[in-house]
Structures are given as structure tokens and as C-alpha cells.
Amino acid sequence: MWDYTEKVKDHFLNPRNVGEIENPDGVGEVGSLACGDALRLTFKLDENKRIKDVKFKTFGCASAIASSSALTEIIKGMTLEEAEKVTNKDIADYLGGLPEEKMHCSVMGREALEAAIAHYRGQKPVKEDFEIVCKCFGVTDREIIKAVRENDLKTVDQVTYYTKAGGGCGQCHPKIEAIIEKVRKEMEKEAPPRKLEKKRLTNLQRIKLIEETLGREIIPALKADGGDLDLIDVEGNKVLVALRGKCSFCPSSGFTLKQYVETKLREFVSDDIEVEEVRP
């Protein structure tokens, strides 16, 4: 039995935005019956080029349906430039996490979104420009590279969990291994370890980064739940926040709001951050 979060269960049992939009601005389709999951995403933009309406149809397991549902909730109201930045991790995080073996469901969501945006812009599907590495599931090197980069993957098993590549006959495992090695080398060159980066913050930079992280990583997730959060003050490593609106973030997952905000801020700003809730 999979250990799904309450949020996954909720989005599976009560999926949001199911359906197909008539005359959509963008359509993205990924997966197939043979692969065991597939997602068709349609969206319509409003006059300000924001996603006004988005609907999905998904064939797949509980986490595939939940990931699709979460994706539609996340991107509703976004501009395409904003939506483009949504990663599979955002989808998984929104759901309070997915079992690692099921991460490919979140990747499928991100790929469908990408395809739908490309369709809107009149670009041809990118899949054709790249080499198919896994023949069983039709996964390209591009998809594998992207998953390794975005999720910091290290092993072939992980690549299989995230992209399905290598989950069939296994013949492509050496190729996947080579890709992982190459990408990780590139990543090391490009980015000095984040830990160092975190330490060098000035007070001003720290506050700015906290604000950015709240705006990018945390508040959208709360808003999706009908809540909101205000930054009241920053005192050294202490971050004071106030809750607003109907804020019941993941009430049953055992993950309190404070812990959630703290985890995120520690991840993106500094390891010693402590969050405190104050009454608004």
C-alpha cells in the first residue's frame, strides 16, 4: 500500500478541474495507454494573458490523477511566463510530497504543461529533436537531463522513478548512467555548492531572500488552500509571520504551517531560520 499524503488522497478522490476546454488556447498531451499513464491538459487565457481556465483528463494511478489536479490548481491565474517556471517538484510539494517511485507522475504534469504552452505559442513538440533513450517508455535524453537537473537525481533507479526511463527491459541503463554522470559534472561546474551561498548573506539580502521565497514557494501554496501569510518582521534568524484568511494548510498531514514555512525557508535561505507565528 502506498503511503500517500492526505492531500494526494483528497486530490485523487475529489479531483479539481476535470474535463476538456472547448476551443482551448493551448493543449498538451503526454503519455500513452501503453505507458500506463497519460495526461491531456487544456487551458484558456484571459485578456491579460493569464490562465483563466485550465482542465485536465488523466489516465493513470491515484498519484497521476492527484498530480494533474494539483497542477491545474497551481497554474490557474498565472501568466505563461510564470507557469513555465513550475517544476515537477512544485507539484509534488503542493501535494505534501509523493512516494519517490511515483515522482514520474509529477514529471508528467510538468511535461503536459510545457507541451500545452508550446502548443499555444505555435512551437512544434520538442520531443522530435532529441534522442529516445528508453525505448520501452519513449523517454528522451532531454527529459532525463531535465529531471536530473531539477531534482538533483543521482542513480538510475531515481531516474526511473522520476521519468520511467529504464523501467522496462533495462537495456538503456548504461546510457542513463552516462547521462547522469555528464549532467552532474555540468551541474558541479555551474553552481558552487548552495551551502556556501547561504552563508554569505548580508542582513538586507537575507530579508530580501526571505520575501522572495515566501512569494515564490510558500504563499501560492497557501492561497491554493484559501489562506495567506504576511511577513511581519525578521529578527536575526527569527522570522515572524501572521496567517490570514481560511488557513488550514494540510491539517491532517501532521505538517503544521509553521513547520512547512520553516522547512522551505531553511531550504532556500538559511539552515538556522526559525519561524514564529504572531497574531495579525
Binding site: 485523487f12 478522490l13 476538456e20 495507454l33 500506463g36 489516465f59 493513470g60 494511478c61 490523477i65 520501452c136
Partner: protein, 393 residues
Amino acid sequence: MKTVYVDNNATTKVAPEVLEAMLPYFSELYGNPSSMHFFGGQVQKKMDEARAKVADFLGADPSEIVFTSCGTESDNAAILGTLDSYPEKRHFITTRVEHPAVGNVCSYLGRKGYRVTELSVDREGRLDLDELREAITEDTALVSIMYANNETGVIFPIEEIGEIVKEKGIPFHTDAVQAAGKIPLNMKKSTVDMLSISGHKLHAPKGIGVLYIRKGTRFSPFMIGGHQERGRRGGTENVPYIIGLGKACELAKMHLDEENTRVKALRDYLEEKILEKIPNTLVNGDRVNRLPNTLSVSFEYVEGESILLLLSDLGICASSGSACTSGSLEPSHVLRAMGVPFTAAHGSIRFSLSIYNTKEEMDYIIEHLPPIIQKLRDISPFWKDYLRSQGRG
């Protein structure tokens, strides 16, 4: 919430009579059956009785019964113990649809340098016996073919197979873990040399199995140790579980008729109603030669894990051959070997009944399954495409 347990090929409820029979052996009757004193001797006697019950159930002689720790051990012991007895022979024959307790032993043997032939099955899950005839060579050490398939319930013609195999003088093992208790087994009139059963599939607890070894069969012990089980399986006997299995076999013999009448009728009723109420549904496997309790159905354009979880939400416990349930990415090797099309393979559900199931429970499933499939089809992008292609969308 009420629980409707229809996953009896995965495991079964321990019969209350079985539990009751076992309990004294956890408390006052704790002697070691090998001991010389009366305290161990009385346990030895009860264990002999249990062995006799198991033998009676299988139509075997008590000396042919070896208790093991599970069905998997029985399969491993039969295969590895036989190959060990014929070190000069390097070929092994089995099928593509075995349980991993045999299938993964084959992969292991392949890595060890054995030549392994895996017989194919047709769309209904049936073997081609000519393929078997052609596969047998001078070098063949053992043929191991399951009695009945755990996923589809398809029964193989074991006696016919045995005749082909024995004609060439080759040892023959069958994994009867799913067959035992559901169809009659009689080793007195059989061509089988070795046969595996597992307690937890017939209302005994998990962690007890039997390997039947016909008198005169060459066999080297897999579990090497003391003199227990006539030197064929070392280790102090798991007395309470052996007692439990004895009782379970006694009950299984008594209930065999019911399995093939009342339980079969319930399964047939469930099957008929599902096919009647849910379009684009197909039954997997030979419907004639099939265990009376098993129904494997595929619902096109939906995925099995989703169905299972929605059923589970209503207290209905079944299982699926879909990829997602196992964490692997491909649907079950059994359905793939049968060539079940992808439109259906991912949406397979297995219902497996027992004597504890009732008509009310079947009605509960029949009431709740159609809306579940409809709900998932409404979410599935392929369903509407399909309807459109039929001019109905």
C-alpha cells in the same frame, strides 16, 4: 466501515478452528518434538496427526510430507534440491507465468549458467503442450509448472503435462499454492513428483508451507541442519503452525465441495453482473479451466491502482495486475505473457473469493463498482476518444 475481503489469492483469514487448535502450542504444550521425554513426545504425537491430515488432504503418505516455512521455500527447495541431485544436467523448464517464488529462481539459475526454457501461453493463458514436448532434452533436470495461476486462476492440465514429462523420466514439480483447497488434489493418482502448498492461502497462518516429495524422488535438502523431516529440512519444527495447517487441511477437504458449488456460484454471479453492467470489460484467462474462486477482469481505458483505491475507500479489498500497484512500471508479467492489450492490461482487477464471502458482499461490489469505473473513465482522456471513435461521443 464494512470490510469486503475478496483478495483471498493474496492471503486468507485464519479459520477460527485453526487458531483454536494452535493456541495450546504457544503456551503449555511447548515441548520439542525431537525430545526423548514425555513432554516432547506428546507434541510429536500431535504433530504426526497433523502430518497425517495434510497427507490425507493431498492423497499422500505422511512420510512424503515435508513442512517448510512458506510456499516460497517449498518452491525453492523443490527446484534447487532437485538440480543439486542432478549436477550433470543443466537445463530447466518452466513457464512465463509462474509466481516469483519460481520465476525469480529461474532468473537466478539463468545467471548461474543454467539454460532455462520458459514456456509461453496463449491469449487465454493456456500452454501449448507441443512446445513442452519440443523443449525436453537429455539435459533437462527438472520441469516445474504451476498448477493454477494466482492472477487469473487458469488451471494447467497438470496430469497431462506430468505424463509427457514422466515419459522421459524427468522429475516434475508443481506449485499448487493456489490450487490447494480449491480443486481436488490426489497424489496417489498423480504424475507429480513434488508439489508445493502454502498455509496462508487455505485459512492457516502465514509462514507455514508444505513440500510434498513422492517416495523415491531424488532430493537434496535445501535447508541443511538437523535430522528433522527425515533429514529433508533441518530446523526445529514450527509446531503451532504445523498443528494449524493440519486443522486447515482437514477443513479444506471438508469445504472443497462448497468451494466448487457455492463459492463458484458467487464468483460466476459477480462476473456476470460486472460484464452486464460495465461496458468494455473483459475477463482474463480461460474461463473453463479456472479456479472456482478467481475472477480477473480488465476495464478498458482506466488504471488498476485508481480502481483499487476507490474500492478500498468503500471497504472492498481486491488486487490488481496493474503496474502502479507494485511499484514496477509495467503491468503484470502474467497479463503481458498472455498478450492482453494495453488498453486493458493496466486496468485489471482480481477478485478472489473464499468460503467466508456472501451474496450480500457480491451485491455490495456490484452496486459500487460501476460508478467507480464510470468516474475514472470520465477522468480518462481515452474514454471520450473511444466513444467518439464509436460515433457516440
